[in-house]
Amino acid sequence: MKRVMFALAVLALFVGSAYAQGTIKIGGIWTLADITGKQGSAAAQLAVEEINAAGGVLGKKLELIVVDDEGKADKAAAAVEKLATVDKVDVFVGGMASGAELGKIPAFKKYNKVVMSTGAAGGTVEKGLGPSPDSDFYFHLHPWDYNQGASYAEGWDAIQKKYPNIQIKKIFLAYEEGAFGKSSWDATKILFGSDNRYIVDGASFKSALLGGGDYTAVLEAAKAFKPDLFIWAGYDADALPLLEQSKAMKFSPGIYLGAPPGWPIDFGASKLSPNVMLYGMWSTAMNNNNPASAKFFKNYVAKYKEEPATYFAPLAYSAVYILAEGIKNAGTTETTALIKALEATKYVSPLGETITFKPSNIIKHQGITRQKILQWQNGEQQVIWPFEAATAAPVYPFPAWK
């Protein structure tokens, strides 16, 4: 009898420990050759380690398995298959380029596991996902292109109300000719151009990132239009050359605003950077008034000895925390229960807002809907709007070139 008891005890111990040793696997898919994916995956790994150090989730450790999608649809589909069938992950995280994300959708739908998406702003991705309930597994953290457009319209209204010296009537958008720029243009035309409060015009250019880099024609068109607000939607490679060309052509609008996903290294050190405005989600200035941001930043720099260059790092970090909390509340990674738990998410993120999920145009689970309006001041990006996250007041107008 004693012996049986002992055997049972050993067995219980064995089973128990085996159970505790089991991990919750998170499959991460990013474009690793790109800075956004490289740092996004690093930030997600940081979140996993922090959560594990604090005791894990449901008594288990989290494990992040990262596979590169190379920004290609077919490779992205293979990445989903590998994570789902070979590694048998419980949930997915990641995503950046819409073209690669579209390739993943058929495989995601097949496995119907929860996906916490950190990128893919293109409206075609939402169309590809289709309406609820078939797309309920997909939690889209990043705002869709039309969300971003709407938040800018809202932001500029608020700014003009609060700072009466800022008056905007004419808006010009210089947009890169690819999907990113074109969708910005579509959203801008609709949201600013609908009621006759603003006069909107725009022209496309080929981004240096995609083999262009000649901004003369688009700036000629902008200069002739004499806008109060000049916006360019391109990539970081366009930032300084555009400013230099604008200066050469003596084009100085009241507000000069850039909307690239990231900025070039040392942009803040350039003499042309002061008072350039930008759209974004996160900046180091937020460490001063946002404890979640300060904690993320401190831990990221301590682990990787570099600063996060774009907001995709805190976004991926947030994605892992949201998943962990959802799994904890659901008590399982089973899809239906987890979806239900995630719908109750209220995560105080390092991005300066509390993330919850609400329906967007097509899908049921859209996270962040607002971008921020920021401004380069003394070499750092300061948040101007939303006012609750603001770190500085706007400097206006953009100084004329000397």
Binding site: L32, A33, K38, V66, V67, D68, E70, K72, A73, D74, K75, A77, A78, E81, K82, A84, T85, V86, S98, G99, L102, G103, I105, P106, A107, K109, K110, G122, G123, T124, K127, G128, G130, E177, G178, A179, G181, K182, S183
Partner: protein, 312 residues
């Protein structure tokens, strides 16, 4: 290895390829699909190369096929399977028309013009926003073909590959082979021996382009979307070219070896070296081409001491 042995081997490979879904998981099937897609493109590129014409227009015709398939579904309500055939026909017709213009060009000038035509196709698709969806692309709302069933999708790509293989063998075994080889080796003597060079080139160009279009159609139907960046990607030109050359050109088996080598290497490296695998990939291409200038086939032939006697 004599001819019978190689036939048996080929038959074994064929059986293995067809029955793969019965014993392989979805991940190997997806990888196999990716490899077979490029393999088929590499074979079609090689088929035209046998006449000496180097095409840089694979991505252009692949993209044309992709868009004709997806737009015929979205704008005209065509059934998915028929849209794939339509893609082949449409690309074939396009190739027929442009073939009249460009097939009299030789060497680098032909290559450049095919490259430029591919870019023109891309820009047209890119700019006709209302019809094509513009740079953001279009998606098929009702999802991918066969409801996304992994086995069926695999067989669909395999069927595309089979078409390319069949055409390639037909080119190798029929008198097309002699015509194209004669054109490549010495155009003037080919002409004087009564070969209608232009007609044979047009045939080869139309057939290979139609297959490239077919593959484009298969691609969009199995992923359910098309964007100009995704389907006109330079990868669809350069990777098949690299695969054919690494495997050994002027043959059907060369591109097969090359596609397997590069396809598996790229997937394996990606998992082993998440950050930086593409560096190794580039170096592999350099090393293989330096040490096996005739491609992998040379290695296979050398080790088997082929009694075949035929040279490439």
């Amino acid at each position: 290895m004599n001819r019978n042995a190689s036939r048996i081997l080929a038959a074994l490979f064929g059986v293995l390829a067809v029955t793969l879904p019965f014993f392989a998981g979805d991940y190997p099937l997806q990888v196999a699909r990716n490899i077979m897609m490029y393999m088929a493109l590499a074979i079609t590129w090689d088929m035209l190369l046998r006449s000496g014409q180097i095409s840089f227009g694979i991505a252009g015709l692949f993209g044309i096929g992709a868009y004709s398939a997806i737009l015929s579904v979205i704008r005209a309500g065509m059934p998915a399977w028929f849209s794939i055939l339509f893609a082949a026909i449409f690309s074939g017709v396009v190739a027929f028309v442009i073939g009249f213009l460009i097939l009299r060009l030789r060497a680098m000038y032909f290559s450049i013009v095919t490259l430029a035509l591919g870019e023109i196709f891309r820009i047209i698709i890119h700019n006709l926003h209302d019809f094509t969806g513009g740079p953001e692309g279009v998606v098929i709302q009702k999802g991918v073909i066969f409801g996304g069933n992994a086995n069926s999708l695999y067989w669909l790509v395999l069927a595309g590959l089979a078409v390319a293989l069949a055409a390639s063998f037909w080119f190798e075994k029929s008198k097309i082979h002699f015509a194209l080889t004669a054109i490549r080796n010495n155009e003037i003597s080919a002409q004087s021996s009564g070969i209608d060079i232009f007609r044979w080139l047009l045939l080869a160009f139309v057939v290979t382009s139609a297959i490239q279009g077919l593959l484009g159609g298969i691609f969009v139907q199995s992923y359910g979307f098309a964007t100009p960046d995704a389907v006109f990607s330079a990868d669809f030109t350069l990777l098949p070219l690299a695969m054919a050359l690494l495997g050994g050109v002027y043959s059907t088996t060369g591109p097969i070896f090359g596609a397997i080598l590069l396809g598996l290497a790229s997937e394996w490296l990606k998992l082993k070296i998440p950050y930086g695998h593409l560096v190794v990939y580039g170096i592999i291409i350099v090393i293989v081409i330096l040490f096996m200038p005739q491609g992998l086939r040379q290695l296979v032939r050398r080790t088997s001491h082929s009694a075949d006697g035929r040279s490439a």
